[in-house]
Subunit: 68 residues, 6 copies
């Protein structure tokens, strides 16, 4: 039994999310031994103006630091 | 004091969500003894292409397994 | 498919938690139409000194307000 | 290292959210000693008909109690 | 930027958790293009009597269904 | 109404957590206009070997990078 909640900035394609889910599921099955039918993976897509690092909303953080 | 976060596939009606909230609140008040005014219940509605089971996004999982 | 995460103060008995889980599961099956085998309910038990309301940790909040 | 997830009713302005993030970040840096570059703050904005208190969806709760 | 929260039953070894984290991180970097230094992965380990499926606490669910 | 969930490495004192809660509560009241009695702040304290950055569990990440 496993619940994997992925919080990330909106903008990945359905193909990217499907590939991420497949890779995480494989890790949970092969390493943790979780039964596949009970592995739930959920993506929470967040707008860039709802995420802050170092106290700066992402658009500002990226502009100010060049990271991200 | 209780926080109940319900992550589910988008698509329930306001009436369904209100009935679920009422039932969960009743359980928390009657069984756990939580004070009703401090029971927060939040629904996080997820698109079907943001949820995977067994490493397959839900539309694929349902088509492949007949479940769901 | 549903994930129900219940964050509550530590201190309920196994029997109370089992009864809460059964009641929530029944609501999700009967009202939301979720398949029971894909309803995961998880309790996160929190120590009283890790929870604040109105900016006061719970032991203080309860003492100051008489609530809780 | 800190992750701060803020679940709140939709409706705050970008300026309000930026100010909240800055204040929380300052608290985490100054009080907890977390390194700023590893403090992630995420806002989850919830529609009013996805949030219940005391078993009543927020529009009903506010109308019935005058709170909120 | 990504936050991956893994809720699972307690009982994996440090080596298993390290291997899961490495695999998930690789997926997030290679598929999602997230910068590694901003990928936080957190394990929430849950006791078996704090997790229910189909309304039954895990020890009961496993005994009754043979799954898990 | 607001729920603030703070996930951080275990090790802060009760006084630090109380001061963080007070600061966050003040921000939510003063900036967001949330009613104090409905602001729940919860700390989830995580062991260092349950948190990874850049795919390395925290003790390794700190040793390898000097950060943290």
């Amino acid at each position: 039994m496993a619940i994997v909640q992925i919080t990330l900035v909106r903008g990945r394609s359905p193909e990217q999310k499907a590939a991420i889910a497949a890779a995480i599921n494989a890790a949970m099955v092969n390493i943790a031994g979780s039964p596949a039918d009970h592995i739930n993976i959920v993506f929470h897509e967040i707008e860039r103006d709802n995420w802050a690092i170092a106290g700066q909303m992402l658009p500002d953080y990226v502009r100010n630091t060049g990271k991200g």
